[in-house]
Symmetry: C2
DNA sequence: ATTTGCAGATGAAAATTTTGATAGTAGAAG
DNA sequence: CTTCTACTATCAAAATTTTCATCTGCAAAT
């Protein structure tokens, strides 16, 4: 999943890049609108573009048109007081906009939303005989659906996304239940048990003694 | 809550600053170790310091000693391959370390943890006749405890932290239940109902028609 | 080979959360 | 001011999650 960042303020561009990299996206930064347009002629394999509205070379709205010609969805980055451009931007066909300074988490959420809408996300992952659909929150085994409760699904999702990696109960609690979960670490065991019961041996959820669990393929 | 950032790589420093600002902390950046030590003589009202290990002027470990003399807790920012400094850093008395590149959310969590440990957080907030203790997850009304279930507490916490601001049901769901909650918006109403029943009229949770709820004081 | 002691598995109870159905109310429209 | 409508409140049932107590199995020690 490759994301284009067009932003002339270096620190902001870098900040976005770092956060996107941490979230496992590939990134490319350009500082200038015209330069970006030129570069796209060579390489337009982007899944999404984040465009600053105010850009040297060619402004965000011009660049938006270029993006649309390549069928790349766009999220605008706009300054707080620049309300006019919100409306104009969305009318021009941007998928979304976000006001600077923004919270990183919010940006990530919006990016996911747009990618989903454009079906550029891997909504389905296959492991062993299982097919996990993150969008539908469903799991199929050899084609037929297995009904999982919310927590069970979330737990499986984390295991699948970290396939072949052993994860401690504490880490699972943080990842699935959230950082502020107060309960027992035993809780994880029970849900693992449920997954095993419902998915059978073929799910291949291994216990890692003294540590936690791992899903192997 | 004021946090000192000592980091010579400008983009990283700016990134951290932006994220901390978004999370409502005051910040101050220095790029140089010696300069920081000098500046502290004038102004040492910091609640926490984030120190890069590799610094011009005076390295992170030297600076750590200075921080300790001012009783400022320290989190080290260290490069991935710099494992040695982890051990050394913690031995030298740093509260925690985090490896670059890190996820912003993780940094924020660690900062909160350290501030809590040093009792520099407002663990207790008073609104009307209520006293909300975020650390203990408890609520007292006129001194005596009211037992709230986890979801009820979380919901109250969000309302309190956004006192006098009307919040839509959708936003409450995102803030309390998480971005990926699948259920009905009605759920909020039920929990609001519980809070009102348990806390009585004095909790002052107002319904904002067509919108959501607001806790007034 | 048997015992002992953990760490994990599991079934079932308890607690919590969510949903669904119904009743109530405030605000809009006439 | 009254009626109508749409939104909100609430109760109870259903579903889910968490905890508790007990059981099992592996591994180290004798």
């Amino acid at each position: 999943m490759k994301i284009l960042i067009v932003e002339d303020e270096e620190p902001i561009a870098k900040m976005i890049q770092m956060n996107l990299m941490a979230a496992n996206y590939d990134t490319q930064i350009y500082n200038d609108g015209l330069e970006t347009a030129e570069a796209l002629k060579e390489d337009n394999q982007y899944d999404l573009a984040l465009l600053d509205v105010m850009l040297p070379g060619m402004d965000g709205f011009e660049l938006l048109k270029v993006m649309k010609s390549y069928d790349i969805p766009v999220i605008f980055l706009t300054a707080r007081d620049d309300l006019l451009s919100k409306v104009q931007g969305l009318k021009g066909g941007a998928e979304d906009y976000i006001v600077k300074p923004f919270e990183v988490l919010e940006l990530l959420v919006r990016i996911e939303k747009v990618l989903e809408r454009f079906n550029r996300m891997d909504n389905v992952v296959k492991v062993l005989n299982m097919e996990i659909n993150f969008k539908e929150h469903t799991v199929r085994q050899d084609g037929k659906e297995v009904a999982l409760k919310p927590m069970e699904f979330n737990l499986l999702a984390v295991l699948v996304k970290n396939k072949n990696i052993a994860i401690s109960r504490e880490k699972l609690l943080k990842m699935v239940w959230g950082v502020d979960f107060l309960g027992e670490t035993r809780t994880v065991d029970v849900h693992i048990g449920q997954l095993r019961k419902k998915l059978g041996l073929s799910s291949n959820i291994k216990t890692v003694s003294k540590l936690g669990y791992r899903l192997e393929d």
